[in-house]
């Protein structure tokens, strides 16, 4: 750093270098509000990142599984059979006796798409029809055709004619099958859906929703708190590991609501007005900060006004929203048109919404948030899943489920509350099979 001895510089430096002036009174309150807001945004961004990563992983895993599934069939099974199909092309019928050609033809027909084909009788077919096999019969017919043509031209026996007829019908059957089957499956005589039809493996995607009923949202007994009705819903991806066990994970949004009619005091700290329940252990989920800067007191319709340190009775409603990421397993007890299974799992719940308001006759007088709420909660759940097959890919499920939070929703030592929620989850599952 350098300084230049200039009169104007000196004049301003001497007068303004250590200039002090008190900022406006409300600025600290605004800073506090922004801190709260930004921490909320930061938390949301972290959640979005986690959800994004989870979704990406699920998608990559699903894509990988589907790709692997098809590659496994193509790579492991087709080459061996195609090798066999190509073998006859190397045969020079002029150098091989007629009886060996017949043997070769038998080999060819074995790897044809209609290996179960058994002719009832030998058919006499004109020679020229053999050479007019359509291209659409695919590689199998292409491989079969030369051998058949060459053998038919050199060996004109009834036996070889019967073999030609077999090849013909095989090619015709392959053509018919090709309309609904990929080429490599038709060539190799593989049933493409054979694995999925076995009932093992397979992904599913489920959309579900449920009304939620919670136990009274209080840590003690002597309160007028009343749980409000709430809702839960989300998207769940599942993977059927075998006939009995399915594992699933996804995202659910869960609400918790309650209203209470209790005694409070009011305090103001660092520019934030707090509504503090008199009996913390028996009421609500902790202190409520009314973070609107304008709030210094609450005025009721009858003219009553709350003042600091006075005890007053008020109605307060609280609402929390959690983003739940469950990991659960279902064990099928019955797997028919109607299925029955037991489910259980663990969830991580991220607090994404925290609203509190002082109400009078249902009208909001002031609003804020509940303090000391934990950002992350863990919960366990168990239920009975009842399913009904709506078709090949769709299953309607109804699942009564109970969810128990493992840690207290508040970090306040005075509040030890681990709510339990009941829900009747109704959902539709689409199976990718």
């Amino acid at each position: 750093m350098t300084t230049e001895n200039h009169f104007i510089d000196q004049l301003f430096k001497e007068n303004l270098g250590n200039f002090e002036q008190n900022p406006p009174v409300g600025l600290l309150e605004q800073i506090n509000q922004k801190m709260v807001y930004r921490s909320k945004i930061r938390r949301m961004n972290q959640l979005k990142a986690i959800i994004g990563i989870a979704a990406a992983m699920v998608l990559i895993f699903m894509a990988g599984w589907f790709t692997m599934d098809q590659n496994q069939i193509v790579n492991n099974e087709i080459p061996q059979q195609i090798k066999q199909v190509n073998t006859p092309k190397q045969i020079n019928p002029e150098k091989i006796p007629a009886n060996q050609l017949a043997v070769n033809q038998q080999k060819i027909t074995k790897i044809s798409p209609v290996k179960q084909y058994r002719p009832n009788k030998a058919q006499s077919i004109p020679e020229n029809t053999v050479s007019k096999q359509p291209d659409a019969t695919g590689k199998a017919s292409a491989a079969v055709e030369p051998a058949v043509i060459e053998s038919s031209s050199s060996v004109q026996t009834n036996e070889s004619l019967a073999k030609k007829a077999m090849a013909d019908e095989a090619a015709a059957a392959a053509k018919k099958e090709k309309k609904s089957t990929p080429l490599y499956f038709a060539d190799a005589g593989i049933q493409p859906n054979s694995r999925k039809e076995s009932g093992k493996g397979g992904w599913g995607l489920k959309a579900e929703i449920s009304p939620m009923i919670a136990t009274q949202m209080q840590s003690g007994a002597a309160s007028n708190a009343k749980a409000g009705s709430s809702i839960s819903g989300g998207m769940i991806a599942s993977y059927r590991m075998n006939d009995k066990i399915t594992v699933s994970s996804g995202i659910r949004l869960t609400q918790m609501k309650q209203g209470s009619h209790s005694d409070y005091t009011m305090a103001k700290t660092s520019g934030i007005t707090y509504l503090q329940p008199v009996q913390k252990d028996a009421n609500l989920s902790g202190d409520i900060s009314l973070y609107l800067p304008a709030v210094s007191s609450i005025v009721y319709s009858n003219g009553m006004q709350t003042t600091a340190n006075n005890i007053f009775t008020s109605d307060v409603s609280q609402e929390f929203k959690y983003l739940e990421i469950p990991i659960q397993a279902t064990y099928k007890l019955l797997d028919k048109q109607i299925s029955v299974g037991v489910t259980g799992g663990l969830s991580t719940n991220f607090l994404v919404g925290n609203f509190a308001s002082v109400t009078e006759n249902g009208i909001k007088l002031s609003q804020g948030r509940t303090d000391n709420m934990r950002d992350v909660l863990y919960s366990g759940s168990a239920g009975i899943e009842l399913g009904y097959d709506l078709g090949k890919n769709l299953v309607l499920t109804v699942e009564p489920r109970v969810k128990q939070y493992i840690n207290s929703i508040s970090s306040n030592d005075m509040v030890n509350f681990k709510p339990m929620q009941f829900g009747l989850f109704t959902g539709i599952t689409y199976s990718f099979r």
Binding site: T3, E4, I8, F12, L16, N18, E20, T269, S270
Partner: protein, 186 residues
């Protein structure tokens, strides 16, 4: 000093009481800095607010090397610079050759208050105000200023000269002729 350290440690834990205490300790000084870099009190409040938010969120980065006040001051200056980059960089500023500065001799400046000078400096075009503050009051070199503001050293020098001319003119107009505050020497 020990009390300040305790406040800083508590701020690192996110203690709101400690944050309030820190604000009360430094807000007046920092607001003084912000006023110099802003065009009015509203902008100064914005800078102060943003600056304190950064102080509270980045206080873990303070390693007790050097003065805490200096660290805060740098945060305020950087916040002001960032605001300038976002909002004022596109304002056209007349480029000029380095001004051959006129010398002044102080006779008396007792009648000029800090408030008067603050008002005068706030009337400067944003870039001139930035350069003048950084050079004349904070003590940064033209090279440092050019890097901070992403301008050339020559531009920094010409902006400083231009700022001095405008400030001199303002001081003369407001206090020079009537009150005999400064005397111009050829």
């Amino acid at each position: 000093m020990a009390q300040l350290e305790e406040i800083i440690y508590k701020c690192r834990e996110g203690n709101s009481g400690a944050q309030t205490a820190l604000y009360r300790l430094f807000s007046a000084k920092m607001y003084g800095v912000c006023l110099r870099y802003a065009k009015d009190t509203g902008e100064a409040e914005d800078i102060l607010q943003e600056g304190f938010l950064r102080v509270f969120t980045k206080i873990n980065q303070f390693e007790f090397k050097g003065s805490f006040e200096g660290w805060m001051r740098r945060i305020m200056v950087n916040t002001a610079l960032e605001k300038f980059r976002k909002h004022d960089r596109l304002y056209p500023v007349e480029e000029m050759k380095i001004y051959e500065s006129t010398e002044f001799v102080e006779e008396t400046i007792s009648s000029i208050t800090a408030g008067d000078l603050m008002r005068i400096i706030q009337e400067l075009p944003p870039r001139y105000r930035m350069v003048f503050n950084l050079f004349a009051i904070e003590g940064y070199s033209h090279l440092e200023i050019s890097e901070m503001m992403n301008i050339s050293e020559g531009t920094s020098k010409s902006n400083l000269s231009r700022a001095r001319v405008i400030l001199q003119k303002s001081v003369e107009e407001n206090f020079g002729s009537d009150k005999k505050v400064v005397k111009k020497i050829q």
